[in-house]
């Protein structure tokens, strides 16, 4: 069925490529774009960060070629392209021949190297000095690090080789005990024993406040802000650029047609609305990539190009309200309990409540006006209450679970008024009296 559709499309487009060939092309499109969105493949040039790129490249070149020690922090929000910036700079740096043979690269990540012992082991490993160190015992961390750098000096030739340290998630390194690693790295870069460049990447603006005084004084206070002053037209241009196929795509005609369709897509009115919504939410590349990936994944033989409807659908998937989704799947008893909690919150100004109060409120509703909801035994209601707690829609005020009986444990509702009301509107086959109970102010 889908095959025929594709054939029709081909005939209308007038392409002479055979069926199998077209599929191969499409797979290749998927491969290129998926690599771009998921694997964060490097673009040919950094987008919106040209001046920062130049600055960093200059700095690292000075270390690599002239043997000058430097330290720098790249600060920017998540998904703003810090790693991309660093990687493209490194790529360019390593293209220079004299640098490539000379420089040593040590990449550390705050998520992985959680303490200084692990970090030192990793440094030893990445410098290929495991056999040199062997079973040597060192008095201190500084001694060990000094030995490593010393070994490099003697290893190759008489002059020392520059080492480039990149610290991803820099703020996590500040949580190490005494910040020994940072202190020693900055100390080396200050006292100019070995040419060392330290590049830190972080998303915390207050990262300098996290450093100890002695570490801070040794740091060069050179910061690069990875913030691109992007406005909406540039954003749309970025979308178009991200979606379009590169020049070196084997089938030139297909690439041309694809790029034209992408261009048409970006000029569409509804697409612009979607993009503006996302632009207002955040400007980072990651969330954009997620949106485009979702749209791209729906490109199949039966709908061969990205259409505005696909992008709308992807945007809907991206911006779904999780809690509303979960509320939709609750049973009617659990929903009634949530309404009772909402009433308690309204009456007593967001004071915490316990199960007995909720049950009391629910019983009052049953006695007064319910026809559709049967009365349930108390243990059944307790089970529903516990399910709500498991879903983390309610939370105990103090963590001490075992001290008090579970009926009297104080709880807080983690939903707000509008969420409850909205969930009630969307709830399938909600009984009318329950709805009325929820809207009435008197509980």
């Amino acid at each position: 069925m889908s095959k025929r559709k594709v054939k029709d499309q081909q005939l209308t487009v007038g392409q002479c490529v055979c069926q199998v060939g077209l599929c191969h092309i499409r797979i290749r499109v998927h491969r290129i774009l998926r690599e771009r969105f998921c694997f964060q493949k490097l673009p040919s040039a950094p987008v919106g960060l040209e001046s920062q790129h130049k600055h960093l490249l200059e700095l690292l070149k000075r270390t690599a070629i002239h043997g000058e020690s430097n330290s720098v922090l790249i600060v920017g929000p998540r998904g703003a392209g810090k790693t991309m910036l660093l990687k493209s700079v490194l790529n360019e740096l390593l293209d220079v021949k004299e640098v490539k043979s000379n420089i040593l690269l040590v990449q550390l990540n705050g998520l992985l190297q959680t303490d200084d012992r692990i970090a030192l082991k990793e440094i030893t490993r990445q410098l290929n000095l495991e056999n040199v160190v062997g079973d040597k015992v060192f008095g201190s961390f500084a001694e060990n690090l000094a030995f490593l750098l010393e070994a490099l000096k003697k290893g190759d030739r008489s002059s020392s080789r520059p080492v480039l340290f990149t610290l991803d998630e820099f703020d996590l390194f500040t949580h190490h005990k005494n910040q020994t690693l940072l202190y020693n790295l900055f100390d080396i870069s200050q006292s100019a024993q070995t040419p060392v460049a330290v590049v830190g990447l972080t998303c915390r603006v207050d990262v300098l406040e996290l450093l100890e005084k002695r570490v801070k004084s040794r740091f060069s206070h050179r910061q690069i802000q990875a913030l691109s002053p992007m406005d909406f037209p540039q954003y749309v241009e970025l979308v178009q650029q991200q979606l379009s196929l590169p020049q070196e795509f084997p089938d030139g005609r297909f690439a041309h047609e694809w790029n034209n369709s992408v261009k048409a897509l970006c000029e569409d009115k509804s697409v612009e609305d979607v993009l503006r919504k996302h632009f207002n939410l955040s400007k980072d590349f990651r969330s954009l990539h997620m949106l485009l990936f979702l749209a791209l994944s729906c490109v199949t033989p039966s709908n061969p190009t990205i259409k505005p409807s696909l992008l709308l659908e992807a945007s809907r998937l991206c911006t779904m309200d999780c809690k509303a989704n979960m509320l939709h799947g609750l049973s009617i008893l659990e929903l009634c309990l949530i309404i009772a909690m909402k009433h308690l919150n309204d009456h007593y100004q967001d004071e915490p409540f316990n199960f007995e109060m909720v049950y009391n409120e629910f019983k009052k509703f049953l006695q007064r006006k319910s026809h559709s909801v049967h009365s349930f035994e108390k243990p059944v209601v307790i089970k529903a209450f516990e399910h709500l707690q498991q879903l983390e829609l309610i939370r105990p005020v103090d963590g001490s679970a075992s001290r008090t009986q579970k009926e009297y444990q104080l709880m807080k509702l983690l939903l707000d008024h509008t969420q409850v009301m909205e969930a009630l509107q969307r709830y399938p086959q909600c009984p009318t009296d329950v709805k009325q109970w929820a809207t009435s102010a008197f509980g």
Partner: protein, 437 residues
């Protein structure tokens, strides 16, 4: 024709009522050799087919994958070892003792360079909410595993809890969120009706299922629970047919027979008061009335010594009565108390809503001497009975600052329990409770 969607009809046959989700997943995973999104977070209610659909999909498409249940991984070492073993075979186990995430990533890269991925590898983490409690950097680490190991790997998280509750405070790589909606009533009926009994017609079974849903749907939407209940109660439903009292077409008669039985089941089997084995036994015995069997909660009644009973009663009274009413309840010649003042109550301040209040030991003993008719010497055994009530968790000690000098206690038993105790010593406790005046 190389298209992922060609598997769709086969899979929808295997997994009913999940067509849209299968389609989305298939499209997201894409061709085996393509990159997929680094992390996918799947959430939905219990028994909405999250793990079943994901696993069946990965198995049917023969993708290299590993499934880790986070409940089983009490230590990080177990988790890492399991992942490496199933992805790369058993040739190597060179993880150090007490491995860190760093060791895991290093080893993964090493193994991966020997055996580069031809297809996307998938790591499925079931019950992912437990990752939050393990180690602070574990969840962010897994979220960006693709970037860290530079391999074509995708991590799939499965959880009941929404993503908002996972996000660490410094942020992380955001996963792709995918929601598995709950089954609607029609879908539940359709799925439950699949496992019908061969000796009866499918129509009969589906009518049985609709009766079952009529009773239980407002309380429980958990497919597993419902399926369990359906299997347990079906023999009872068929009983009139076997005896020849009714035919398959007598829908009303069958309904009349089964409905009270199902309502009883909600109070017993559903709450696990009565185990399912007991329930089945009882159904066969037939002559015994259903529910006559004592459930678990009936066994909470404990045999206590005479004075312990009174101590417990006194503790209950001390916990649930305000101290200012003690004169009126427990003194023979209390002075004049204005009745209006005494009875002024507010519903919110009712202690049976707010829970027990702590009381000092002196007050407990004073009430105890007042409610016990005979003269009791304050011997060591009386005091040891108080502390043994604490070890039985019928009382709890509040504030551990002082063990000997005026300790404070709270009563931790329910009204039903204490009434049962009071009945054995023929003491009318309700007369002494302020809330029920």
């Amino acid at each position: 024709m190389p298209d992922q969607l060609e598997h769709l009809p086969r899979l929808t046959h295997l997994l009913p009522c999940r067509e849209a989700q299968i389609k989305t997943l298939l499209l997201l995973l894409g061709e085996p050799e393509h990159y997929s999104y680094p992390s996918i977070f799947i959430y939905g209610h219990r028994a909405s087919g999250k793990s079943h659909v994901t696993l069946t999909l990965l198995k049917e498409l023969k993708m290299p994958h590993v499934v880790v249940n986070c409940v089983e991984c009490v230590s990080l070492g177990l988790l890492f070892e399991h992942v490496l073993l199933s992805l790369f075979g058993s040739s190597h186990t060179s993880l150090p003792r007490g491995p860190s995430l760093s060791d895991f990533v290093r080893l993964y890269r090493q193994l991966c360079s020997e055996d580069p991925a031809k297809q996307t590898r998938y790591i499925v983490l079931d019950h992912a909410e437990l990752l939050r409690d393990m180690s602070a950097n574990l969840l962010p680490g897994f979220l960006r595993l693709q970037e860290l190991v530079e391999d074509n790997v995708t991590v799939i998280f499965l959880s009941e809890i929404v993503w908002d509750k996972f996000r660490p405070n410094t942020g992380c790589f955001e996963p792709l969120l995918l929601h598995f909606p709950d089954y609607s009533k029609v879908e539940l009926q359709q799925i439950l009706a699949q496992d019908s009994c061969p000796s009866y017609s499918p129509e009969l079974y589906s009518s049985y299922i609709s009766i079952l849903l009529g009773v239980f749907y407002s309380v429980c939407r958990d497919l597993r629970e419902l399926r369990h209940l359906a299997a347990l109660n079906f023999p009872k439903f068929c009983e009139p047919l076997e005896k020849g009292e009714a035919k398959e077409s007598d829908a009303h008669k069958l309904w009349r027979n089964i409905e009270p039985h199902l309502k009883k089941a909600m109070q017993t089997v559903y709450l696990r008061e009565v185990s399912s084995v007991q329930w089945e036994e009882q159904q066969q015995k037939e002559e015994k009335e259903v529910g006559e069997l004592r459930g678990l909660s009936a066994y909470t009644h404990v045999e206590l010594p005479y004075y312990s009973k009174f101590l417990l009663i006194a503790a209950y009274l001390a916990s649930y009565n305000p101290a200012r009413t003690d004169r009126r309840f427990f003194l023979k010649n209390h002075g004049r108390i204005k009745k209006t003042n005494f009875l002024k109550k507010h519903e919110k301040t009712s202690n049976h809503l707010l829970g027990p209040k702590p009381f000092p030991l002196d007050r407990l003993l004073a009430i105890f001497y007042s409610v016990v008719d005979s003269r009791v010497a304050p011997t060591a055994s009386i005091f040891s009975q108080i502390s043994s009530l604490v070890t039985l968790q019928l009382l709890t000690q509040v504030g551990h600052d002082d063990q000997l000098d005026s300790p404070k206690y709270k009563c931790a038993v329910s009204l039903g329990f204490v009434r049962a105790i009071a009945r054995t010593v023929s003491f009318d406790i309700v007369r002494y409770l302020y809330d029920f005046l």
